[in-house]
Amino acid sequence: MLCSITSACLKGIEGYIVNVEVDIAAGLPSLTLVGLPDQEVKEAKDRVLAAIRNSGFDSPTKKITINLVPAEIKKSGTHFDLPIALGILGASGQLSNTAQEKLKKFVFIGALGLTGKIHGCAGVLPMLIALSRQGKAQAVIPQDNLQEASYAGIKTFSVKNLKQVVDFLEDKISLEQEEETNSETLNIQEVYTEDFSEVKGQALAKRALEIAAAGGHNVLMMGPPGTGKSMLAKRFATILPPLEKEEMLEILQIYSVCGLLNKRKGNFQRPFRDPHHTISNIALIGGGQNPRPGEVSLAHNGVLFLDEFAEFSRTSLEVLREPLETFKVTIARAKETLTFPAKFTLIAAMNPCPCGYHGHNVKVCNCTPVQISRYKAKISGPLLDRIDLTVNLMPVNFSDWEKKSEGPTSKEIRQRVIAARQIQKERFKNTATTANAFMSVSQIKEFCVLPKDGAQVLELAMKKLGLSARSLDKILKTARTIADLEGSKDIKKEHLMEVLQYRPLDRKGVSDI
């Protein structure tokens, strides 16, 4: 007998429909799985047969053939367990006719344990989204994946074990249909235990971070150890604007693919990723045998914080260039090309020299000039060109530490950021752009009109500082954000002049002879 079950699979972070066909025929007992399954899928054989037995059904002692259609695409994941088990039950005649009929109306996703318990699996949300786009209306999913599934726009029924699924199909029990979450009314919990006002002094760096939050710009903080770089970066999340519905769905899909959603229950802050500097290129950018999103994609619509920026391997830093420019990562293989979104704000922090104390007012730096210039040269020109704001942090000495004002709280800064984002939302209505930093060239032309005296300033700066064309674009974008923060309709000369101050690393033109 033949039985066909609808399920889904992932290609990158996109889902697609997979039909699980099970055929049982007379012959020597065997189980063959075809349709390019990879190791995880192949192991389903053993799990499924045990689960069927342990749920009180018979595991057929016949020749079983399972095919995953479309058969030419490689498939991975443990979520085929449930559809395969149901297919075997159906094909071996262990289900009634009503159940057989009902089987066709649902989509099944789920991993099985040997006891028949259904476990959660990765990538449920993007799979369900793809299924709902294809017109599928109802899905049976593991209870563990309930939360993410509620955003997919498809009716979902959550199940705990195989027996329960069969009882449901046989109409012995009814499953409660899960409420669909209307993402519009997300209960966004934003509880931060940290606050910007906890960082003493560092007004310049705080201002730069405020601009970065308001326009999605990249920041490089440079300074001796203990000046508050990491502290500031960690608090950067507290001043970011709240997530939009679209943005959150994008994030959820990526996290679902990586199987990280369960750990983020009800937590809808912007992602803040801070990988260690020993991270491999693949882990940072994404890829691997079954291409998975890397840290840059996990930081999508959020923050990628790279502490000890200069300690990252040179190649790791250079692979960042593509996502910083195009806001996505493309992984090209002979067979397929995958694209992961990677629109993040980069916050980088580094010491000014190998020992860390160059420019410190008390501690003496032991590094030779060669070492210092080599250390700084680790950040290549093209990469620096993609960083909009660079600030130097100075150590705070005690008397200053005592009297230095605490500055605004996260809440105050956030309000200004949200106001600036509101202006940008109006500006980019009906376009894919979400913030000033992500403007296209034509948008820069349209929205970043130079004031008369501003052109003069830029010309002078270009002549004296040797700015590249790309850095001009970046200056314009950042100036636009500063104008937005001020609520100014036009970019003013002062805005440009402020932006030009945030470029200490490429200051060679003026200070070094």
Binding site: G201, Q202, A203, L204, R207, M222, G223, P352, H358, G359, V364, T368, P369, V370, S373, V391, N392, L393, M394, D400, K404, V457, L460, A461, K464, I482, E486, K493, E494, M497, E498, L500, Q501, Y502, P504, R507, V510, S511, I513
Partner: protein, 371 residues
């Protein structure tokens, strides 16, 4: 001097681990460099009172260098080799205690007996050192003095750059062969030095790498080609002080630029002043110390005539910020605390001052670029 002897001397000169007065002595003993090269290691070891190993490595190094090829390389870059004992060899260099056997010159040395001032200092330059070096070197270059320095980072680079800016010749004594540029970032500066009629000089073989022991040795040449040595900045133990010591041994006047007593990089010059070195407070002080026979023709700047108004008058805010910076260096945060300006406004003011060349920013701190 015969061409063959010159080639032999090029070979003899290739071993930079032995002092040049030893080489001179050996050439004297064996009457010529050609004869010296014919000896075996044992004889050289005995006559030169050096170990057999040293003599062997000396001969090995000599045999490695092809004199004619070396000459070709030098000519290819438009340089020349001046031999001690020939007429065109700078007299003042021949007179020093450890006179070089020969020097490689790229560019134009011109009249090597011209009034010249050696200016040396630290590679780790402070904003004050930069201001002082740039002011003194600029004024000296304008007066017609040839500036002598070592093309290193920091003070050396500022001194050479001032000469170039004023279109005046400057002599650069480097610690590598003239076929190289160290540090590499000064390649442009080296080119500019040659273009403005200056010279790059070294006693090392054409391709010699920047080895640590090369640098103290070239310091004696800086002193040798200078009438006065001025130490701008440098720690108490530094190459600049070695140069000062050598200059004193050679009987030159040494002057120093006084600095803050708590600045480590001014430790060297302050110590020199305490020990009796002249204080270089202006270019005039330095010119005054140049031997009177050479002073003729130098345009001495009148004091206190340089309060020229800047091309564009400063705004009230700019002047206020400039006054706050004063002689120190301050970060944006410091300034924000001392004024009631927002970071945004402050940044704009600092930028206009920076672009006008009135202040400079190093590692996030602003200081005046000129006195």
């Amino acid at each position: 001097m015969k061409y063959e002897e010159k080639l032999a001397r090029l070979k003899v000169n290739s071993f930079s681990y032995l002092r040049s007065d030893w080489l001179n002595q050996m050439i004297e003993i064996f009457s010529s460099a050609q004869e010296l090269l014919k000896q075996d290691a044992k004889t050289i070891s005995k006559e030169g009172k050096i170990s057999l190993e040293s003599a062997e490595s000396f001969l090995k190094s000599c045999s490695m260098l092809d004199g004619e090829k070396e000459m070709e390389k030098v000519e290819k870059v438009g340089g020349k080799v001046l031999f001690n004992g020939e007429e065109d060899f700078p007299q003042r260099l021949a007179n020093i205690k450890e006179a070089p056997l020969l020097i490689y010159v790229r560019g134009d040395l011109g009249d090597s007996e011209r009034a010249s001032v050696g200016m040396v200092g630290t590679r780790k330059i402070s904003p004050y050192g930069r201001r002082a070096a740039s002011k003194l070197a600029g004024d000296l270059a304008q007066s017609g003095v040839v500036l002598v320095s070592g093309l290193a980072r920091g003070i050396d680079s500022v001194v050479h750059a001032e000469a170039v800016k004023n279109q005046r010749p400057t002599w650069s004594l480097i610690g590598t062969g003239i076929g190289r540029c160290y540090p590499a970032e000064n390649r442009e500066l080296a080119r500019a030095i040659l273009e403005t009629g200056g010279a790059i000089i070294s006693e090392l073989p054409f391709d010699a790498p920047p080895l640590a022991h090369h640098f103290p040795r070239r310091n004696r040449l800086i002193a040798g080609l200078s009438d006065i040595v001025v130490v701008v900045e440098g720690e108490v133990k530094s190459g600049a002080l070695i140069t000062a010591k050598i200059a004193l041994e050679q009987g030159l006047d040494v002057m120093a630029v006084p600095g803050p007593i708590d600045s480590p990089t001014s430790g060297g010059p302050n110590k020199l002043i305490k020990e009796g070195a002249g204080m270089a407070l202006s270019a005039n002080d330095i010119i005054d110390a140049i031997p009177s026979t050479k002073k003729f023709g130098l345009k001495v700047k009148k004091l206190y005539n340089e309060s020229k108004a800047p091309s564009e008058p400063l705004t009230e805010q700019e002047q206020k910020i400039l006054d706050l910076i004063g002689e120190s260096s301050k970060s944006v945060d410091d300034l924000a605390l001392e004024t009631d300006l927002q970071i945004a406004q402050l940044s704009a003011v600092l930028f206009s001052l920076e672009i006008a060349g009135i202040i400079i920013c190093t590692d996030g701190k602003y200081s005046r670029s000129k006195f």
